[in-house]
Symmetry: C2
Subunit: 414 residues, 2 copies
């Protein structure tokens, strides 16, 4: 167990464990980890039941308890997903580019592991397995800091994963749990310069903000999505309605779901009433500006805060905008750089929207719900980056490595 | 002038100015900037003379005064270099990858500008022109915070550049000087989340450390290079001597120069005396460990701090190591992740060195001095990244952009 070690000791061990990973058979290790998790299923599920009971006793909402809960079938599907990770191509050792220097050296830009990747995340214990497996596949050691509500589940999971690593003669410290519910352990992880090569937070807006505010190590910000659908004057309104209902209701609790609808004034008389009616039929609470209320009487008045809220629920803010410029200005002011969509048949409007929206994913006539590592064909997803360094948008295995230049010569000097 | 504006106001203006840059003719703007700088040459050189006289009066070292000084010929060569920037391919709007989603949408990963790039740098006023030109070419607004010693020079330069922008009907706030010598202005720049998309510090270890410690916005760390040359037991010793002298003496003040020589014990009896003799002939002070002193009596004893020192001068630390493992361990402990080299004829040793050294550039039988954007064929260089996110190693125009995914469909939903 790791309880008695300081975070710095943990990280040093993880760093040492990370060194040979690029050169070892990481797929064999993942297979051994899968077997060990399978063998430990009864104790993992039992630990999870204790976590779940603890949260219920605290009066935690059923939605959160559900996120924490590992049913046997959920656990099986997480284990089955390891097959997919094993089947993915190795992201390490790819030659990204290469050329000959005029003096004759061969230069290659080759992908290499980061080293130690810290994951800071909230209640879902399946992330413990997912994230550790992806880090391992990418040749990095994973240092995992889950939430206190899942501590028993995470202990049981990590203990099994380390057993699998030992069984395949891999350094067990390649998967390490920060076995602490103390906030200070997060700060220690975020400030351990030289020991952590990258931190990826996964969770709500507060968690992300805390990490970004306190980190002195490199961070890839993920997740917060205040996504807009702009129905342009030249939109196919049937298509717009379909995209709206899909984007808002197919899975409202995720970051690529719609949060705000912007309707061009030209089509508002027709579209606003139809949209509000369809949203209501789908059980969505509509919060509209004054103009929306004019076309669809009885909508809840939107407050200024609604334009900046990621509802993650069956609630949507609706605003009538004068034109494309007004829509772009609204998105620039309130968007979080995640996913934005326009519905239009106008090539000019589509081009301007894609050229001018500063977001990871910009859609024309398609649902923002496609912003996803699997939908993008990456075969995995560690998160959706909403920042601009290294990875932007869905982040798969290919984004979980860095690179180095390797130069081979026969004595060349400058 | 910008003196009376707060940093946040400056940044907001820069952000606004940055928006249309991707779509404007940035090469035409650079040509106009070049003309304006040429026209303003007398006032720029006069301002620089005042800066130089001020530093001399303070008793600043001649080496630093030289870095600050813009002679007419230096200024001409900086202006001429703008031709090269103009001639480089546009890094914005490249389609990095693209595919068809099974449901039929076209997905493209396209390079886009960062937005606002903050540059924090030390005395050389030519960086003001270089860096602003590269940011502009990459479609981003440049917010420049130079050193107080160059403030007059930078004012004159930025004023001319903005005149050039106006002349070509580009937003002049695309090049903005932080006209303050207050340290607080650096902190403001480093913490303006949402207003600065990227900060690149250029300067000494203290400046870089200050930026990394205080930044709440994305930073690409550059520059500190404690570079090693390891002479393996199977080295061609003539080649090793040549690489050593070139790496240490050709330009000792730069980050890719050698700072430490590691000699394999097997070749030390032959190589250590030869190396020390050649280094001394080249005017290099040699600081050796006990074993080095045994083979080359009279070397200055190395102190523990010498292994971690970027001398940037005609000084080198020399250590005898037992084998490749010991060399790798020394480099892991003392290296800064910049450039590391092995001299060997052994393929096995070369492969292990390249696989195991965690640095931006790893050399076999070639000088670390090649770590450079121009030598790498990038046609430009904004710095050498020693961190692992987004850019690692020489950073040219291609690394000064981010990307976004653009998805075009005809109504697809999940």
């Amino acid at each position: 167990m790791t309880t008695s070690l300081s975070i710095h000791d943990l990280l040093r061990r993880a760093k040492t464990a990370s060194r040979p990973l690029a050169r070892l058979d990481r797929n064999a290790a993942l297979r051994a980890v899968q077997v060990a998790l399978q063998d430990a299923a009864p104790s993992i599920l039992a630990a999870n039941e204790v976590d779940v009971a603890g949260e219920r006793a605290k009066g935690t909402s059923e939605a959160l308890v559900d996120r924490l809960s590992l049913s046997p079938s959920r656990f099986e599907s997480v284990l089955a997903a390891l097959d997919d990770v094993i089947a993915l191509p190795d992201p390490v050792g790819r030659v990204v580019s290469g050329w000959r220097h005029p003096k004759g050296m061969a230069v290659q830009q080759v992908t290499v592991p980061f080293g130690v990747i810290g994951m800071i995340y909230e209640s879902r214990p399946n992330v413990t397995i997912d994230a550790a497996a992806l880090c391992l596949k990418a040749g990095s050691a994973a240092v995992l800091r889950g939430s206190s509500s899942a501590l028993r589940s995470n202990r049981a999971i990590v203990s099994a994963m380390r057993e699998g690593l030992r069984a395949s003669r891999m350094p067990e410290d390649a998967v390490t749990l920060v076995d602490s519910t103390d906030r200070g352990s997060v700060t220690d992880l975020l400030t351990a310069r030289g020991l952590v090569d990258l931190v990826i937070p996964r969770g709500g807006a507060n968690l992300i903000a805390h990490v970004v505010e306190n980190a002195r190590v490199p961070v890839i910000e993920t997740g917060v999505g205040n996504c807009h659908l702009y129905v342009h004057s030249a939109a196919n309104l049937d298509m717009a309605l379909n995209l709206l209902i899909n984007g808002k209701t197919q899975r409202p609790g995720v970051c690529n779901a719609l949060e705000t609808l912007l309707i061009d004034r030209e089509v508002a008389p027709l579209f606003a009433p139809a949209a509000v009616k369809a949203l209501r039929s789908a059980g969505v609470e509509v919060r509209g500006d004054g103009d929306t209320a004019m076309y669809a009487p009885g909508v809840v008045p939107a407050s200024p805060a609604d334009w900046d809220t990621e509802f993650l629920d069956l609630v949507i803010a609706v605003r009538i905008v004068d034109d494309l410029d007004a829509a772009l200005a609204h998105i620039e002011r309130h968007g979080t750089g995640h996913s934005e969509a326009i519905v239009t048949q106008s090539l000019t409007a589509a081009r301007r929207f894609q050229d001018e929206v500063d977001a990871a994913c910009v859609y024309v006539n398609a649902s923002t719900r496609f912003t996803d590592g699997f939908e993008f064909g990456f075969g995995a997803e560690i998160g959706i980056s909403t920042q601009k360094l290294h990875a932007r948008g869905p982040m798969g295995l290919a984004q979980m490595v860095t690179h180095q230049y390797r130069v081979v010569g026969d004595g060349q000097v400058r």
